[in-house]
Each structure stands twice: as structure tokens, then as C-alpha cells.
Subunit: 346 residues, 2 copies
């Protein structure tokens, strides 16, 4: 893990290969630590293998081996036989905090996801998922209910950040469409910020139940409406009353090929008021698809879980939006570096 | 993968967590690349996604996504849409070369190994493997036949290196015992070097068939003898004729607890001639168990696959050997940095 860069500069060794083929050990060690709630235990002051073992009804030897692994992997520091949390672990892996993201394993290590990665070669041969014809894209797939519940905490922070970049007129009655709303966090963050904003959330009916819960929790249920169904098929209802000022499309386009995305983009374009904006939140690799690492590698997840999904570059998005009638798009690098935002203007 | 170190120094982000929980993607991508023999295809001159797809009957899109992943992961370089092998990949992942180590997946990703890592928390609670009472340590476990075949190429290089450090008198009739001989590579490397050396190899009968094949291939079958059974139970035959000058114990002690190891060390001590040496090849973490990474993290593999195994420090080995009657032990850092050697003198 830590010596990767130096490996390549010296005489050839198979170390990087062995470390990488065993990379699943890290996944499993981290999952084990979350199952045992080791990070919270350390935050509570149990800093030795002995104290941790006692606090979690585990063996001292097992706890020492696990914590040594986590220290090497950069999740703990170790000095004089005592383990401490790194700043990242303290913020995101202590279960008592609202910033806890450990619940994401319920989605990222779901049987469907593990199965999708079981035979990468088969997906490369086929050029898409081999789970079944639609992968995780089948209607009402319970996979997305898991996603909604698991990714809620991390989306909460992301959504709040989005409202710092995208401003609406607070005095005006406005309308936002939240596509593939999931937990609803993105639309809800705007609804909390703007008392005159009405939000319409599109997703599968089973998934929108999670969004509904959150709308009630945030006290904005009267301005939040569920529109169940496929974003490609449902009527966005932009004609009956008036159009949308904002359409949010967080983490959705990556599941489809460009022609499919353009179909949806044209539908979004038609539903927007003049001057309205489409806000895309995505894993966007640089043009050469060499950086940033997580955006480049995310494409593999799309290859193995969807028929035709991908991680698109900004120029690919720009073209899709332009071809769908949008006047211009801009790429915005968000401070929390995992995803990027594309703002496309009608 | 590449930005781990910088992550920790900035304001807290969950990036390292998400990258790490998804670490199994790397395992699976690499396995997929080996299944498709992508590295050999690149070595053969197929350097674009299109050419690679054609040479391996795969989709271009799948190949591009996979190769981009491999480039980010440090196995390929990418420039102008062309992929090239890194020096490490060229040496160790081109199937046409004897230095190819990709076969190791047949052992490292064997169903038993994957199952062992399925529930790390349970192993930490118990303090040992939860596969069954003995884990991979049960008699005649076919797991070790897989190991023998898969690890042969990498052991070949290691064994050759060992003979550069451990010298015998070429003019004298000598005898070596190869414990947990597996593919037999370690004993065979010495047999090839010393025409007056006789090698006795101990392992399960099913495993020793692999060693026998290699002894014949190397033309030393007349001086190589299989001694099937558990190293703890079989008679090393040191009394009947004469004792051993060398006892090789490559990658064996890590499967057991110190009392069990000392039992075997005493048996080895008794089988050695005066001045004889026990050569231990192992993953040996530094005293603080913080470095080197692979040796520290290897302990987790022992936790989940064996009842009581561990990655022992040199001072722990030194004590075990001293308590078993050895006069002194020395730690030797090998040039190929994965394992370390301990030489213990009778």
C-alpha cells in the first residue's frame, strides 16, 4: 500500500502484484473493523489491543492483528502499542457521529455488487454487465433501496455543499426536479434552504419511501412530492403548471450510454424554464482518463454492473448537453474531491 | 491508490475509506486481466484498446475501461491512448516468461482463501480461523497442492537467491531436509547447486507429487526423496544414517503458535549435525509490527486461515529457536524484499 511508488522505480519485483491481488484483504479487514465497531471503540478511549478486545468481546490476538493491519492501511496510527484514529477515521468512522460513512458497506459490499465483480473478464468480453440483461438497472431493484439508506450520510454533506455553489432567488416561487432522487438529499438540501422552493423527486417507488422519510424529518414534506417511475418514462409535469428552475441529476448519467443520456437531457431541457439549469453530479475523469484515480477506476464499476454505463469526461458531457439543446455547460471542481459538478444552462 | 498519503495530510475526507472498502475491485480487475491475458497481449505489441480487444475477443469499450483501471493501479502506463507495460508487469505478468507469477491467483483467490476472509470480525472474535477447526491446516488439504503449483515460479527465484546466501561444502557428501517442501523448489535449488547433496522433502503425499515432478525436471530425482506426512509426526531419519547439514523451513512456522513451533524446532535441532543450520524463510515484521507493510498485514491471512498462526518478529523467532536449543540466530534481509531469512545454528 504505502510503498507502491518506490516499487516501480527500483529493479522489477512482483511485490506490487502480490499486494494488489490481495487487495481484497483490505476490503475485508475494513468490513471486519466496522462489524466490530473498532473505530468507535478507539474513539471511546480503548487504545490497546487488550482494551479493544474487552470492549468488543473479541480475542486480544485477533484485535492486535486487525489493528496492525488497519495501521499499515492508514486508518489508525500506532505508537508504543497504542492505537489512535487518524483525522479521517475520527471524522468518518466513529459510529456516534452524523458524519459516519461506514454504513456505505451495506451498498458497496452488497451481494449484487460482489457478484458483479466476480468475473471481470466476462464483462470485458461482453462490454457490459453479465449479472443479467439489465444489471442493477432493472425496475424497482432493491439494490437502490440499499443504496439510498447506505449513502445518505455522505450525500448529506455533498448536498449541503452543492447549495453553496448553486443559488436560487429566495423571494421567488421556484421549482426543482430531483432525478434519481434516492434518499432525496440533494433536492431536500435546496428545499431546506429555500422556503419558496417546491421539489419533485423521481425514482422507483420503493426507493422514494426513503426520500419521503427524509422529507418529513427535515420538515419540508409539504413542498416535496414523489414522482415514482423511470426518469425516461414519467411525465415531469412541466406543462401543467410551470417549468423547473433547477433539475438535479446526481450520479445517474453514468449508468447509461450517450444516446440514452441525450434522450433524458432533451426531456430535461424541455422541462426547464428559460435560464434554468441542469446540475449534474458525477465522477468525471480528466480528458486523458488518467486522473483523478477514483473517477477513472469508477468506470469499471459501471462496466460490471450496467449494460452500457461509463465514467464520462467533461467534453463528453459537454457534447451530450449541447446535442440536447443546452446553450453551454461548465465544470465545477468541488472542495470535497470525490465528485465534480457540471452546470448546464438552457 | 496513489493519493493515499496526501489524503491524510489535508482536511478530513472519506476518500481513503471509499477507496479502501472498494479495494476488492483491484483484486478483481487484476484477476480479469490475467484471465484475458492482457499483459501478454500488450507485450506482443497490442497497445491500444482496439488492438487488445481484437487479440482477446473482447469488447473495445471493456478493454479500455479495464486498461485505464490497470494504468491507475500502476500496472500499465498510458500515453496518447496507448498502453505499455511497467517494468514490473513486463517481467512478472507476461505469461510467456518463466518469471510469470500470475498463476499465484490459483492459490491466492482459491475459494478457501476467499471464504476465510468473508467474515474477518468472526475470526477476530474467536482469535483464529472460522472455516473449521483446523482451517487450511487439515491433513492432505488440496489447498496446498494448489499452493505448490501456483507459487512454483515465484519460489524458483527465491530459492535460487537463497543458494547465494547459504553455502555448503561442494566436495563433501551433505544432506538437507526440506520441511513443508511443497513444489520442492527450495531443496531442489540446493540439489542442483551441490551434486553431493541429498535432499529429503517432507509434506503431504498429494503435495509431494508436485515436488517429485520438479525433481525429475531438474534431473536430480536420484538425490531427492519424498517423506510424506506431517513434519510434526514423521521420523526425519537422522539416526539411521547421519544427520542433516541443512534444514529448510520455508513459510511454515507462521501457521502455528510458538509452543507448536518450538516442538518442531527441537525435533529439527535433534536432526541436525553439529554446526548444522536451520534456514527459516518468513514474513518477518519489525519489532514494532509497523513495517514492512506486507509482513505486518500477512498476520491477518494467518488469523483467518489458521487456528493460531501469526507473522512473528525476529526477536520472537530468536527466542523460539534459543528455547529449542539453537546457539544463535541471525536475520538476513534478502534483496527481493518480500520475505526475510533467519539462519539458526545448532
Amino acid at each position: 500500500m504505502s510503498s507502491q511508488s518506490s516499487t516501480q522505480s527500483q529493479r522489477p519485483t512482483p511485490e506490487h502484484f502480490f499486494r494488489s491481488i490481495n487487495a481484497f484483504h483490505l476490503t475485508r479487514a475494513l468490513k471486519g473493523a466496522l462489524d466490530l465497531d473498532v473505530f468507535t471503540a478507539i474513539a471511546e478511549g480503548n487504545t490497546t489491543a487488550k482494551a479493544l478486545a474487552e470492549s468488543r468481546q473479541a480475542s486480544e490476538r485477533g484485535m492486535r492483528i486487525l489493528c496492525d493491519f488497519l495501521a499499515v492501511a492508514g486508518f489508525l496510527t500506532k505508537a508504543g502499542g497504542k492505537y489512535e484514529l487518524t483525522p479521517d477515521s475520527a471524522m468518518f468512522l466513529d459510529r456516534r457521529l452524523p458524519s459516519y460513512v461506514g454504513g456505505a458497506v451495506e451498498f458497496l459490499l452488497t451481494p449484487t455488487m460482489l457478484q458483479a465483480f466476480d468475473d471481470v473478464a466476462a464483462a470485458v468480453r461482453k462490454g457490459g454487465t453479465v449479472i443479467n440483461d439489465e444489471g442493477t438497472m432493472s425496475p424497482d431493484n432493491p439494490f437502490w433501496v440499499r443504496f439510498a439508506r447506505a449513502m445518505q450520510p455522505i450525500a448529506f454533506g455533498m448536498a449541503k455543499m452543492l447549495t453553496e455553489f448553486i443559488k436560487l432567488d429566495p423571494g421567488k416561487k421556484t421549482k426543482a426536479l430531483d432525478i434519481a432522487a434516492s434518499h432525496g438529499m440533494y433536492g431536500l438540501a435546496f428545499a431546506r434552504q429555500y422556503p419558496n422552493l417546491e421539489v419533485v423527486a423521481v425514482d422507483w417507488a420503493n426507493v422514494l419511501e426513503v426520500g419521503r422519510e427524509n422529507a418529513e424529518k427535515f420538515g419540508v414534506a409539504d413542498r416535496w412530492r414523489a414522482l415514482p417511475g423511470s426518469a425516461f418514462d414519467v411525465d415531469f409535469g412541466a406543462n401543467s403548471d410551470k417549468g423547473y428552475d433547477l433539475v438535479l441529476i446526481p450520479n445517474f448519467f453514468h449508468h447509461f450510454d450517450p444516446p440514452t443520456n441525450e434522450k433524458l437531457m432533451r426531456k430535461i431541457h424541455a422541462a426547464l424554464n428559460e435560464g434554468g439549469r441542469a446540475i449534474t453530479l458525477e465522477f468525471v475523469p480528466d480528458e486523458g482518463r488518467a486522473e483523478p484515480p477514483h473517477a477513472v477506476t469508477f468506470a469499471l464499476t459501471m462496466l460490471v454492473t450496467t449494460p452500457r454505463g461509463d465514467a464520462y469526461t467533461f467534453s463528453e458531457y459537454e457534447k451530450m448537453f449541447a446535442d440536447s439543446g443546452f446553450s453551454r455547460s461548465e465544470l465545477i471542481q468541488l472542495p470535497m474531491g470525490i465528485e465534480r459538478m457540471i452546470v448546464s444552462y438552457k
